[in-house]
């Protein structure tokens, strides 16, 4: 096993990775920005290094500073968490070149899946269904109009180098496409450093369902069930659950097999996620993208399988076997994750501030992955995720009941949070019935 790991991230995911590392006897080293000095992940690590000022470019995106911190502390491995440098193939390669263990997939797999156009073409060749869309970058509005004509409206405009739903917009007709194309290009350039754009057929009323995969040290790729991530605002996830209420047994086995094929096509190692859009009435699915890292919502899979995914990441990175028998993974019960954001629960606008009281719920099946504690300041420099409230139950009804109690029991004062939104979501007939799709929040807000 690895002797030590530098966790190149912040907040809840840094703390979550540090805890598993320490449980396995791996010394955990935190890196942090000036804005994060008081957060729990910094104090809970075995060692810590200040990277620099708050701006991500000078701290969590500063690969050179992170490698220098690894050298200084004698870290033997780097775990990137999610976001920041997690899907930066150049950084992964520089970690490996420095003689350290990269707790993530091979840089080539990151690169191949990081370009959304290449990823679509590659998985299609591997027999994974894709929606009608671009096979190469769309250079300008004229080309976009022609491409949309070929694909058929409505289309989704996406950054080829992007992810996380940022910069995406739908266009129902040529006029909307003309308006959206320029914005998409400038955002793609700004957020992802590449203006390349692709178009895809937009599936309204679909579910967003993803499959957790693990590429084992011996080269096998296995699937650990799906997660339904259809509850989204601004194309970003707010709540997730497993199993998906919209996926039947046949569709599930087809999706799991397709996810394994996608992983095999790039020689995947470690934890990764293959995202699909599901047309529930037709029980059909198409590939959306692959996230070559640990996913924010990985705890729901952990709750139903009893498998610590971060532990498996460490084991695979060290060339060891996983801690369970890959041939007999059982899923038990139902799990829900709610992302607790520092944002107003009505319009979902950011709400940085200083936390007064912080009291987490407890009880059977309740797990809270938190990044903050009472007295911490939530700054505007990073994403608004405060904590993930994760709940397991014997079935969906019990999981829902326990989640409702847990939301009521979660007290955070001093800033606005979306906990009241979550209470509203759990009380809505749509969510309770399980019959919802990616427009559930828009429909809740329209009424």
């Amino acid at each position: 096993m690895l002797a030590s790991v530098l966790v190149a991230n912040r907040g809840e995911i840094a703390l979550r990775v540090i805890r598993t590392a320490r449980r396995l006897g791996i010394a955990a080293i935190a890196v942090y920005s000036e804005a994060d000095a008081d957060l729990p992940f910094v104090s809970e690590a075995d060692d810590r290094v200040l990277l620099g000022p708050a701006a991500p470019a000078e701290s969590y995106l500063n690969g050179a500073a992170i490698l220098a911190a690894a050298r200084r502390t004698g870290a033997r491995a780097v775990h990137p968490g999610y976001g920041f440098l997690a899907e930066n193939a150049g950084f992964a390669a520089s970690v490996i070149d420095a003689g350290l263990t990269w707790v993530g997939p091979p840089p080539a797999a990151i690169e191949q899946m990081g370009d959304k156009i290449n990823a679509r073409n590659l998985v299609e060749r591997a027999g994974v269904p894709v929606s009608p869309g671009s096979r190469q970058a769309v250079p300008d509005v004229t080309a976009a109009l022609a491409e949309a004509e070929r694909i058929g409206y409505p289309v989704m405009i996406k950054a080829a180098g992007g992810g996380g739903g940022i910069g995406m917009s739908a266009a129902a007709d040529p006029e909307q496409l003309r308006a959206g194309f320029g914005t998409a290009r400038s955002r793609a350039e700004r957020f992802f450093g590449s203006p390349a754009i692709l178009l895809e057929q937009f599936l309204a009323a679909s579910r967003h369902v993803e499959v957790q995969i693990l590429g084992l040290a011996d080269g096998r790729v296995i699937a650990l069930g799906e997660r339904d991530c259809s509850v989204q605002r601004r194309h970003q996830k707010v709540a997730e659950e497993t199993p998906s209420p919209g996926v039947g047994p046949q569709l599930r086995s087809a999706m799991l097999a397709a996810a394994v094929r996608a992983g095999e096509a790039v020689g995947y190692r470690g934890a990764g996620t293959v995202e699909f859009l599901v047309d529930e009435p037709a029980q059909r699915f198409v590939f959306l993208e692959m996230n070559t890292r640990l996913q924010v919502e990985h705890p729901v899979t952990e709750l139903v399988t009893g498998i610590d995914l971060v532990e498996q990441q460490f084991r695979i990175a060290a060339g060891d076997q996983v801690s369970f028998d890959p041939a007999s993974v059982a899923s038990r019960g139902h799990a829900i994750e709610l992302r607790v954001y520092a944002e107003d629960p009505r319009r979902f606008l950011p709400s940085p501030g200083t936390i007064g009281e912080w009291a987490e719920p407890a009880g059977p099946g309740v797990r809270v992955d938190a990044g903050y504690a009472a007295g911490n300041t939530v700054t505007p420099f990073y994403d608004p995720l405060l904590a993930k409230l994760c709940v397991h139950g014997a079935d969906r009804d019990q999981a829902l009941d326990r989640t409702r109690s847990a939301v009521t029991g979660f007290v955070i004062t001093g800033l606005k949070t979306n906990l009241p939104f979550h209470a509203e979501l759990l009380a809505s007939a749509q969510f309770a019935s399980g019959a919802y799709d990616t427009s559930i929040i828009d429909r809740m807000r329209a009424s």
């Binding site: 520092a342 944002e343 950011p350 940085p352 700054t379 505007p380 994403d383």
Partner: protein, 70 residues
């Protein structure tokens, strides 16, 4: 005269309007950025931009003046 103030702590990403510009209701004055989200600040009525109190790169606090519309 209308004062446009910040609803939250944010960085000023882009200043779209300039002093002296004529703006319509709903026009974007500046674009703020907070928690990885772009937040356009809109004119809440037609008029002339009498003053722009922020510059790109500024960090502003809740309640800070952004612009004055006459």
């Amino acid at each position: 005269m209308t004062e446009v103030r910040a609803e939250m702590v944010a960085n000023v990403w882009k200043v779209v309007a300039a002093a002296g510009d004529t703006v319509a209701d709903g026009d974007t004055l500046v674009i703020l950025e907070s928690m990885k989200m772009e937040i356009p600040v809109l004119a809440e009525g037609a008029g002339t931009v009498a003053r722009l109190a922020v510059a790109e790169g500024d960090v502003i606090q809740e309640g800070d003046l952004i612009a004055v519309i006459e």
